[in-house]
């Protein structure tokens, strides 16, 4: 690889990494307005309003806990209670699934804003991300405060926001797919569910058959979950499990941002 290629590649990556962040800061007021509106619309007519956004995932925590710990009394060999392990992974996954599913339709849902007027389209994929990340971070903090101890609350919120940040390039990719590749967009919700089964969330990585264990490295979500479980519950994890998703993230940022900018002039007409 020549020097020129390397420098060109690194500038693409740099643009990809800085692009969404710059957009976030430049249009912060606008993003705040849209996120707040989304909260309000989804809970309109209720008496406790935006509290429902936190109450919904919180109730799910209670439901899982009730099912696994009280009804099924699932017990696994190991240091940690299975229900705790399950909740740490599952609640994080629920956020991931919500962000990805909503990203698919975000360019269509908000089309009224940019179809016939000037609008910074590049902020739109960030809206479902923030709308999901904020309440889930609160619930996650409360949950870890309960499971691990009050000291883990802040750590929990930061970890979940970190995971959300990792999703940024995927929101852009999914938004593009939702607008331009409608057939793929129809199958993605199914693929997102499949990804959950292929990731050690409802089971522990050790429970994966020995022959299949090496293939877990192909799933960045499995890596991220291992890191999450490792940090929160003191389970073993290694640096490679953090490095692999980080490298992939850099690549995806460059790819998704480049693609988004390239397709931008076509978006109005694609509606």
């Amino acid at each position: 690889m020549s020097i020129a290629t390397i420098s060109r590649l690194s500038s693409v990556v740099l643009r990809g990494v800085t692009g969404p962040i710059v957009a976030l800061f430049r249009h912060w007021e606008l993003i705040k307005l849209l996120v707040r509106r989304d909260f309000a619309v989804r809970t309109s007519g209720t008496s406790i309003g935006a509290l429902w956004l936190v109450a919904q995932p919180a109730l799910q925590v209670v439901a899982f806990w009730f099912l696994l710990d009280i009804v099924l009394r699932v017990r696994m060999p190991g240091r940690v209670a299975f229900v705790d392990y399950f909740l740490v992974g599952m609640i994080a996954w629920l956020m991931v699934a919500e962000v990805l599913n909503r990203s698919l339709s975000v360019l269509i849902d908000f089309s009224a804003l940019y179809q016939r007027s000037q609008f910074p389209i590049e902020i739109l994929p960030l809206i479902p991300l923030l709308v999901a990340a904020v309440p889930f971070a609160l619930v996650y903090a409360a949950m870890l405060g309960w499971i691990v101890g009050p000291g883990a609350a802040l750590e929990g919120a930061l970890l979940l926001l970190g995971l959300a940040f990792w999703l940024v390039p995927l929101t852009y990719l999914f938004a593009i797919i939702g607008l331009f590749v409608k057939d793929l967009a129809q199958t993605l919700p199914f693929l997102i569910t499949m990804a959950m089964y292929l990731t050690p969330i409802m089971y522990m990585p050790e429970m994966v058959p020995e022959a299949l264990q090496p293939y877990l490295v192909l799933n960045p979500m499995a890596d991220l979950m291992a890191v999450l479980h490792g940090l929160v519950m003191d389970l073993p994890w290694d640096a490679a499990q953090l490095l692999r998703p980080l490298l992939l993230w850099l690549l995806l940022m460059a790819l998704s941002w480049g693609l988004f900018q390239r397709l931008r002039p076509h978006m109005r007409e694609a509606l």
Binding site: A112, Y114, Q118, R268, E269
Partner: protein, 406 residues
């Protein structure tokens, strides 16, 4: 520095069979669409303070040109530079979020316009007041009537004075009093030397307001020049394209608020009075009677009228503004004025009367009634054409040819 500068700007729309083709084309650069040329390359410089009117038939590419200048659509080729803040009154309220309240949409639009929160807060009361939305301001805009929606959209869009204003078709928005109010606001921009770029079917408005006119025909700039020149050429080209005249005179049931409307327009000749009269060319006298109602709070309206031949061409027109005639009206705002043509010089044919009711300056149109009345003109002589012009013949002695021998 020009206010608007277009260099070889053109627009091709692309037709795709699937959304996927669009993606593939954007990624590979290989064309997978059927192009439609909406606008051929156009170059144009507009100086600050100019008022440019774009005329042309429907589908000629006027709106495309406006959208390109407004920046709501990218050009396929060429370069567009607009200096200063540009405000487009094209599809008003298109940037509104239907679920958001009027208040939130003001902040949303203001933020998109590049205003700080504190600036929007400073403008807020003025916007709500101008739009006249009142207690609905905290309701989602999807619950607004179309009138309220467009009033709010106009108030927000024009809350900050633009350097360049792009307007589609109507120089006024909404109906009745608001139409007048919005028109006055646009005129105030013009008087303060802002650049205005608008398209209109009203040749009259283009001629009255513009410093320059552009004629767009089939996606090409057919002519640029003074409004008088361009309109003359355009009208010439329009001749022979008949326009449908739909008689649509309804009697206003109530006093219009902040506006004015005709109550009746009647013609009278040869002892008959009504919507249609028969005349004899060069013999019959013609009366046209206008009866209107207006809000006493506004200035006294002015009246204008056109004769249109059956092929849709304007044969002659008159207006009280330009002739300095003051129209009388009573304290309730009702007014009448009559127009008299002695021995009507129109030649054989059918003519329709188009009546206009305008503001006191003769610019903003409150109402236009196409085919307000019909004239059926018969003729005893063999003259050809549409009108007998004032003339006289002078018999002269034959010119003496210089003799050879002198």
């Amino acid at each position: 520095m020009s206010a608007i500068s277009l260099r070889q700007v053109e627009k091709r729309y692309r037709l795709y069979r699937h959304g996927f083709d669009r993606l593939v084309e954007a990624l590979t650069g290989r064309a997978r669409h059927t192009p439609i040329q909406a606008l051929h390359p156009i170059s144009l410089e507009v100086e600050p303070g100019e008022v440019v009117g774009v005329i042309g038939r429907n589908g000629a590419g006027k709106s495309t040109l406006l959208k390109l200048i407004a920046g709501t659509m990218p050009p396929s080729a060429g370069e567009i530079v607009v200096n200063g803040r540009v405000t487009a009154l094209l599809e008003l309220g298109s940037g509104f979020h239907p679920e958001m309240s009027g208040r939130e949409n003001i902040f949303l639009s203001g933020t998109i316009m590049g205003l700080e929160r504190s600036q929007i807060e400073a403008l807020y009361d003025g916007i709500v007041d101008f739009a006249g939305i009142g207690g609905f301001i905290d309701q989602p805009v999807k619950t607004y009537s179309s009138g309220m929606f467009v009033r709010l959209a106009f108030a927000v869009a024009t809350a900050v004075e633009p350097d360049v204003l792009v307007v589609d078709e109507a120089l006024s928005v909404g109906d009745g009093a608001f139409a007048r109010k919005s028109f006055d606001r646009i005129m105030a921009f013009r008087e303060r030397g802002r650049t205005i770029f608008f398209c209109s079917h009203s040749l009259y408005q283009v001629e009255a307001l513009c410093t320059r006119a552009i004629w767009i025909d089939n996606g090409q700039m057919r002519m640029v020049g003074t409004p008088a020149d361009v309109i003359a050429e355009y009208s010439e080209a329009l001749a022979g394209v008949p326009t449908a005249a739909q008689p649509s005179l309804e009697v206003a049931s109530q006093q219009p608020q902040g506006s004015a409307s005709f109550r009746t327009v009647e013609v009278e000749a040869e002892g008959a009075r009504g919507r249609t009269v028969h005349l004899l060319s060069g013999r019959s006298d013609l009366w046209v009677h206008f009866d209107f109602a207006s809000d006493p709070a506004i200035g006294t309206p002015t009246v204008a009228m056109e004769f249109k031949s059956s092929d849709g061409k304007v044969v002659a027109s008159v207006g009280t503004t330009h002739e300095g005639v003051h129209v009388e009206r009573d304290s309730a705002g009702n007014g009448r004025v009559s127009l008299f043509y002695p021995r009507l010089p129109l030649l054989r044919g059918r003519y329709s009367v188009v009546a206009h009711l305008l503001c006191e300056r003769g610019i903003h149109v409150y109402e236009t009634v196409e085919g307000a009345a019909q004239l059926v003109v018969a003729q005893e002589t063999l003259e050809q054409g549409v009108v007998t012009l004032p003339h006289r013949w002078e018999p002269r002695a034959p010119k003496q040819v210089a003799g050879v021998g002198e």
